[in-house]
Amino acid sequence: MKKNRRALWAGVALIALTLLLLPFALSQAGTAWVRIANIALLYVLLALGLNIVVGFAGLLDLGYVAFYAVGAYVYALLASPHFGLHLPFWVILPIGAAVAALFGVMLGAPTLKLRGDYLAIVTLGFGEIVRIFLNNLSQPVNITRGPQGITGIDPVRIGGIDFSRSDSVLGVVLSGPMKYYYLLLGLMLVIILINVRLQNSRIGRAWEAIREDEIAARAMGIDTTGMKLLAFAMGASFGGVAGGMFAAIQGFISPESFVLVESVMVVSMVVLGGMGNIAGVILGAVLLAFVPEILRWTVEPAQQALFGKMLIEPEVIRMLIFGLALVLVMLFRPAGLLPSAVRKRELTQERAP
């Protein structure tokens, strides 16, 4: 037992060290790779947020990107020349989380009393609606600048540190993307901690009970609607935080970044990794976030060499892989790559007639 614990700590220390040194290794290959790692971390944040809704509470949300969009637009409107507002980062992020949570409740309240599959379709519609509004709210009063998007969004500034510029600390040069990497890593740790604590709490057990059998959970005195709403609001608020970070890192957002495909991608990450299992979800997010890059480095040259031109765009292959992953995982490994114990039991059991 003692030996196990020591091995565990050694493993944790190794992972921590790797994560800390990763940007330095990546920046040797080019700053672009640090940016890719940042995007992967953003997807991890999104997947962890969606995992609360889909994994813990068992509610399929297909419009998760809407909350991402809300968070991003809140950040963009409060910290860009568009309205001339430049609030600091630590003020906006909680506002973005709160607004996204509010949207989550607004969406969840009418649908959560119904069966899960209605929720899936309604959330899908909601995602589209948010995008339609973002595209059209440039008239009669220009709020979102429509399809043009919002430019010149402030980068994160904490104290005197500007995250868009390079700094040198103790002789080590830290580029902008590297600083964002550490910020995202910190945020990810906080969200993982919240996830773990939630999972083992009274609330987490209530979610699990609802997911397993809603009627039985209600009979045990769990306020099922309230608990489901809470899951929805919490998942949404994490999406909002990720959206705010996205806006700050990119410096530019437009409705085009928040299409249905993004929602599907996050759902794929959660499903592939293993619904309800935090480590699995992180694995799924990292794997799928790097797929486009891997394809860019393998499929493009391979096609060039074989046919002399690009026959199938990597983008299409990526989507086909996502679709296939969803189908194949459900057919052959319904609990995901790293299944959570409870989920595994639930998914391999047959549904009572």
Partner: protein, 325 residues
Amino acid sequence: MDIFVQQIINGLTLGAVYAIVALGYTMVYGIIQLINFAHGEVVMIGAMVSFTIINALAAAGLPPLAVVLIGAGCAIPVCMLVGYAMERMAYRPLRLAPRLAPLITAIGVSIILQHLAMLVWSRNVLAFPQIIPLTTYTFLGATITGVQITILGLCLAMMAGLALLVYRTRLGTAMRATAQNPQVARLMGVDVNRVIAATFIIGAGLGAVAGVMVGTYYGVAQYTMGSVLGLKAFAAAVLGGIGNIPGAMVGGLLLGVVEALGAGYIGDLTDLCRYGLGPAASCADGGHFVLFGSNYQDVFAFVVLILVLVFRPSGLLGERVGDRA
């Protein structure tokens, strides 16, 4: 007044198409309680296949109606095959799995179909060749085109045919029996798997015709057209009461009319100048200050869906409660 009649006519035409697509959702849902998420993509494939055929035959000098019929004739079997393959590979193995599982594979199937279609037909908006001559008739001060009359007539005929099939044939009886209780139906000698496959095939066939109609009505097709159309048709099915066949028909027509009237009048209704509330600078000289224009048309189906779910989850004609576990 004539604008009102015009919007009703346009709405009924579109609504008839929604109804045909909604039938595909509702039949499958009624029989195995699955939202066949990929049904919208089947409609898209129908539109695409018929586009290819019509495009190829447009110059052949055949009568236009025959060309469209051949197009539909090719689209129907292709879609039926897609529908059957989908059921066989993605849904049947999961029939006893928890509800979330088939829903997730359905999303996967939908993505796969969409991007395969993109590989075959490119990501561009395809223009349907306008081979049917534009004939217009005047009705109560509004114009109705020959295409609209054909669509309405065809949809009504298909609905009647489906009603006959479901309520008057052996297969229809088997379908209704399976919907009520698959275990007992099996004990009574119904081949449940075959009935479910037949349901998917019939729904896909209807979807193919709907795809051809949407293509010829709007004159365009694109690989992404299926998802929004599918969402609206699903809203129509819920409005009528999901699982209920007459409900899907009523829901589709009603949703089409709501959408057309909504898109036609929302600009006027949300013009703050009408109520004396708009800023003086924009309202001067009969100016407008429109909060929501007709570009919000796609929002109506969703609002209808939410309102139905809140106030009458069983839909207009449905008897079953929406949250039956």
